[in-house]
């Protein structure tokens, strides 16, 4: 399977009276790293979560690898898919949470094996072999039998990344993967994501790490108040921002 392309078209979403996404169109090229920046409350997490249908859009749609996500077209309307189909689609999209959300009652190895085994993607022995390989890649071969609570935040997040990769997704979404970490642990997690970027998968990363965006991103998207204010290569958006709101934001975080 080659890296997946994703496309978001006309995305709109409200929570009560508050419109969080106000018509977003975004093209994500296969095999690229897209970094989404923006002040808190700008809708970046909601947008990311809409890509694997953890958040339902009010209007608009998401296409991953040529397939509508979470909905199907019936006549001239989009209708939500059944839960089983949505789960099957999600299994092909990796998702890494800000708070790791590892399963605390399962060991590191069990955390990584759970999805491929329970979705029937791999038999147990193969899932185990793959999990050990992934844990070695994120530098945690020694911790396979540890429980999540026994690990540092950075180690937990690396397990979470291995867990997301266990299903061999061609698109991986990161929702502020380093925001819950102590400053000295941020580097180890970013290093893992950086290596992942070279693996040919398509990555979409919501983050506040401007340095990471500059070094790793192919495409930077700046979101504010539910709309894309500016987007382009990091050399343009981060170095010579055109929009005053982007400039303002970068001045504050740098």
């Amino acid at each position: 399977m080659s890296a997946a392309a994703a496309r978001i078209v006309g995305a709109r979403k409200s929570f009560g009276d508050r419109e969080v996404l106000r018509g977003i169109d975004l093209e994500i090229e296969p095999g690229t790293v897209t970094v989404i920046l923006g002040p808190s409350g700008s809708g970046k997490s909601t947008l990311l979560r809409a890509v694997n249908h953890l958040e339902k859009l009010d209007e608009g749609y998401v296409v991953v690898d040529g397939e509508l996500i979470g909905v199907r077209l019936v006549g001239d309307r989009l209708k939500e898919l059944g839960e089983r189909q949505i789960l099957r689609q999600r299994a092909r999209i990796g998702f890494v949470f800000q708070n790791f959300n590892l399963f605390p009652h399962l060991t590191v190895l069990e955390n990584v094996i759970e999805a491929p085994v329970s979705t029937g993607l791999l038999p147990k022995a193969a899932a185990r072999a793959r999990a050990l390989d992934l844990l070695a890649q994120v530098g945690l071969s020694e911790k396979t039998d540890a429980f999540p609570r026994q690990l540092s935040g950075g180690q937990q997040q690396r397990v979470a990344i291995a867990r997301a990769l266990a299903l061999d997704p061609q698109l991986v979404l990161f929702d502020e993967p380093t925001s819950a970490l102590d400053p000295e642990l941020v580097g180890e997690v970013l290093a893992v994501i950086r290596r992942l970027a070279d693996s040919g998968r398509t990555l979409v990363v919501v983050t506040h790490e401007i340095g990471f965006a500059r070094d790793v991103a192919d495409h930077v998207v700046f979101l504010d108040d539910g709309v894309i204010v500016e987007q382009g290569p990091p050399g343009e958006v981060l170095v010579a921002p055109q929009h005053p709101r982007t400039r303002d934001f970068l001045a504050r975080v740098l």
Binding site: R84, R88, A91, F95, F97, P104, H105, E114, R149, Q150
Partner: protein, 296 residues
């Protein structure tokens, strides 16, 4: 400035003799604890003495009845009724709790109504109601309203023990539902999201991810319920089930001189049973605390 000169300056300001600085700080004394201890010991000795000196306890008769076949039959019935009700109630509790959390308003309402009714009504009333169910509905069955029905006579289906178990389970499910619901709510929302994001099938999300974590808080609470259930099962005597308490009551009317020793026998057996449940609880809790003993 040297340590020594700092110390002497501080001591001079607060007027503390230099010797006090290097002596161990004396902990607070609790004289009243000694008084309380003495009172408890005196009371305990008094009670202990009467246990042996008062002939009315009739310890030899306690020994006679303690492991008698009649008591064992009662014990079996108590255990049977408690165990079956505990399992049925837990299963029922899970179903009712899931209904309460459902998005379907009718299921939500039905679950709420069930809990409301069966938490409000005393067990003895439900038991006697069921006992007289034959008068209310001579036949019970299931079918389409105003359509074909499948029916059997009520008294055939419900033996006294079955009826007792049904009564216990009806009430206990309502409590179990609340215990299960609290446990499910205690599971972090992120766990549901992670399971969804990984595409884990829905049933497996519940059995493998959510329920094991919920059980951590469900088990201790539910074991307390089981202990309550064990004791409530003594009320089955009133619908002619001869459980431990029922057997004791029967023996008392046959052997009126043994009333006290028989009560002692029942007390000791209930103590043993509840202690056994607590020991099992300890091990079950340890199992479900897997992963909780972190080093952070």
């Amino acid at each position: 400035m040297t340590t020594a000169s700092l110390r002497s300056r501080a001591a001079a300001v607060l007027d503390i003799p230099p010797a006090a600085v290097s002596r161990r700080v004396q902990p607070l004394r609790h004289p009243w604890q000694w008084v309380a201890t003495a009172v408890v010991i005196v009371l305990a000795l008094n009670l202990g003495q009467t246990l042996f000196t008062n002939p009315a306890w009739e310890w030899s008769r306690v020994g006679h009845w303690f492991a008698s076949p009649a008591i064992f039959t009662g014990l079996t019935v108590t255990l049977e009724a408690t165990a079956i009700s505990a399992v049925l109630s837990f299963a029922g509790g899970i179903v009712i709790a899931l209904c309460r959390q459902s998005r379907n308003r009718v299921l939500q309402g039905a679950a709420w109504l069930y809990i409301w009714v069966f938490r409000s009504v005393p067990l003895i009333l439900v038991l006697i109601f069921l006992y007289n169910l034959g008068n209310l509905y001579p036949k019970i069955g299931i079918g389409i309203p105003f359509g074909p029905q499948l029916q059997v006579p009520t008294t055939n289906v419900l033996s006294d023990l079955t009826l007792g178990v049904v009564g216990l389970s009806l009430l206990e499910s309502a409590y179990a539902a609340e215990v299960v619901r609290a446990g499910l709510l205690a599971v972090d929302h992120g766990q549901h999201e992670a399971a969804k994001a990984l595409g884990i099938p829905r049933g497996r999300q519940f059995t493998r991810i959510v329920l094991p974590q919920a059980l951590r808080s469900i088990v201790p609470a539910y074991v307390n319920q089981i202990i309550g259930l064990l004791k409530s099962s003594s009320l089955l005597f009133y619908v002619s089930v001869l459980d431990l308490f029922g057997v004791v009551q029967n023996l008392q009317s046959t052997y009126p001189s043994d009333i006290i020793p028989l009560l002692v026998v029942a007390t000791v057996w209930y103590l043993i049973l509840t202690s056994a449940v607590s020991i099992v609880q300890h091990f079950v809790e340890r199992f479900y605390n897997r992963g909780q003993r972190g080093i952070r």
